[in-house]
């Protein structure tokens, strides 16, 4: 490790620098940069939140549940524990044990990501996605309108297409996506289906009825006569229809969330980059796990350093949890 003295030199040889391996030094320096990286996100979140006149905090709105956050905290802490005992086992040259601990860590990382995905799914399901959230009444109504419009249009084109398989003669609308013409085709088809007593008739009559109900809602929204919560009622009425309510299933209820977009932006960027770090950590673990029975003392430093990295990932979560879930 130390330098062999140069023969005849007047100066005793000195190991310059500090007494840790280069790799560990480098990793710590890297962690310093990582701290600044997350500081930028966390700091941004804090100051933007303080600088906003209001912030969505109710779990009903944000779909942020302390239970899942707490559980994930526990999962990460546990995994951190396993990584450190894994390193301890490496130090004692008990490589089989080390492998086992590392496997536990890896499994917990997967659990963490699983829970995270579940939480993401909840947000996506309620369309709590940055850029898509209505911030006032008007936008909420507009959003319902455009989403229902899309749903109706889809149904419309679907029904027109279906006519082919029903062997119904009809004049192909020209251009194909002209909704007025498509609607005319449907009207026409209703008559023909009635005549042939086809079982598909209900669908087409249903559409006409639905289209009318939708048209009323649209009128009301465009005329700005109703508030978003009234639109919400109308929407749930539509959705409640036994025959065609399902068409509107993809339409989200109008929830104006004040500062919702910036909230979602912060939430996703912080947890997202944290999740990316989790994945990177998992890749490091896979490299070790892949060694199988070849794992030996050469890997101790590697395990220690990936462990340090993993603890850092844990540390970030330790701060994200209160900031995002509790406050």
């Amino acid at each position: 490790m130390s330098h062999s003295p140069t023969p005849g030199s007047a100066v005793p040889p000195i190991k310059m620098g500090i007494a840790i391996p280069n790799s560990k030094l480098c990793l710590w320096l890297f962690l310093g940069t990582e701290i600044m990286f997350f500081t930028a996100f966390i700091g941004t979140y804090i100051v933007l939140r303080l600088g906003s006149k209001g912030w969505p905090t109710s779990p009903d709105v944000t779909h942020i549940k302390v239970f899942w956050g707490g559980l994930n905290t526990f999962v990460l802490i546990l995994s951190s524990y396993f990584v450190v005992v894994c390193h301890e086992a490496m130090n004692q040259h008990n490589f089989a044990k080390a492998q086992k601990f590392l496997q536990m860590t890896f499994a917990l990382a997967i659990v963490f990501l699983g829970i995270k995905s579940y939480e993401y799914y909840g947000k996506i399901d309620h369309d709590i996605l940055p850029g898509r959230i209505a911030e006032n009444d008007y936008q909420a109504k507009k959003k319902v309108l455009s989403e229902s419009e899309k749903a109706v249009t889809n149904r419309l084109t679907g029904l027109v297409k279906q006519l082919n398989s029903l062997k119904i003669e009809y004049a192909k609308p020209e251009p194909a996506n002209d909704q007025g013409k498509q609607r005319a085709v449907i009207q026409d088809a209703v008559g023909k289906l009635k005549a042939s007593n086809s079982p598909a008739l209900a669908d087409y009559e249903g559409f006409v009825e639905m289209d009318k109900a939708f048209g009323e809602m649209k009128q009301a929204i465009l005329a700005e006569q109703i508030t978003s919560s009234e639109v919400g009622k109308k929407l749930s009425d539509l959705q409640a229809n036994a025959q065609w309510g399902w068409v509107f299933k993809s339409v989200h209820e109008p929830h104006p969330i004040l500062y919702g977009n910036i909230f979602a932006s912060c939430y996703f960027i912080m947890t997202g980059f944290h999740a990316i770090h989790v994945i990177v950590g998992m890749i490091l673990f896979v490299i070790v796990l892949k060694q199988g029975s070849n794992l030996d003392g050469k890997w101790t430093d590697f395990v220690e350093n990936s462990g340090l990295y993993w603890h850092f990932v844990d540390l970030v979560w330790i701060f994200l949890f209160p900031l995002l879930y509790i406050l």
């Binding site: 500090i18 007494a19 840790i20 391996p21 710590w28 310093g32 600044m36 500081t39 700091g43 941004t44 804090i46 100051v47 933007l48 939140r49 303080l50 600088g51 906003s52 006149k53 209001g54 912030w55 969505p56 905090t57 109710s58 009903d60 709105v61 302390v66 707490g70 905290t73 526990f74 802490i77 951190s80 524990y81 990584v83 450190v84 005992v85 301890e88 130090n91 911030e135 006032n136 009444d137 008007y138 508030t227 978003s228 919560s229 009234e230 929830h255 104006p256 969330i257 004040l258 220690e304 340090l308 603890h311 844990d314 540390l315 330790i318 701060f319 949890f321 879930y325 509790i326 406050l327």
Partner: protein
Amino acid sequence: MHDDHGGHGHPNYFLVFAALCGFTGLSIMADVVTLPYGVKIVAVLSVATCKALCVMSWFMHLKYERAWKYVLLAPTTILALGLPLALMPDIGEHYYTPDVPQVDDYAEAVAHAAEHVGGHAETHAVHPETTTPDSGATSESK
């Protein structure tokens, strides 16, 4: 080799783990019971700091490292705290008048709802206290 803390044996990692779990329990408690908002902020953030210190000292072995840890961590900490602090006067507060239509809209909507009897315009989407236009920051939420 790397083992320059040889003499210490190893700390009881399980104990550290248990402490971390305890701290997590504490922060969840802080959410369950109702605390004044300011107290809550201080409480959960200090709990988080304690947790961080536990992880750093024992899991990351900083307790056993030499002085370089201060050289590395002191500037990092200063910068990491300093950046958000320096952003506060500009972003966290506003010296000039913010021009925020969504808040104005919201105030209007609330006023509008109050006119209607039954006031059902009160959206369940937004927490009413947090969003009264002049309640400043989030201070009194929940």
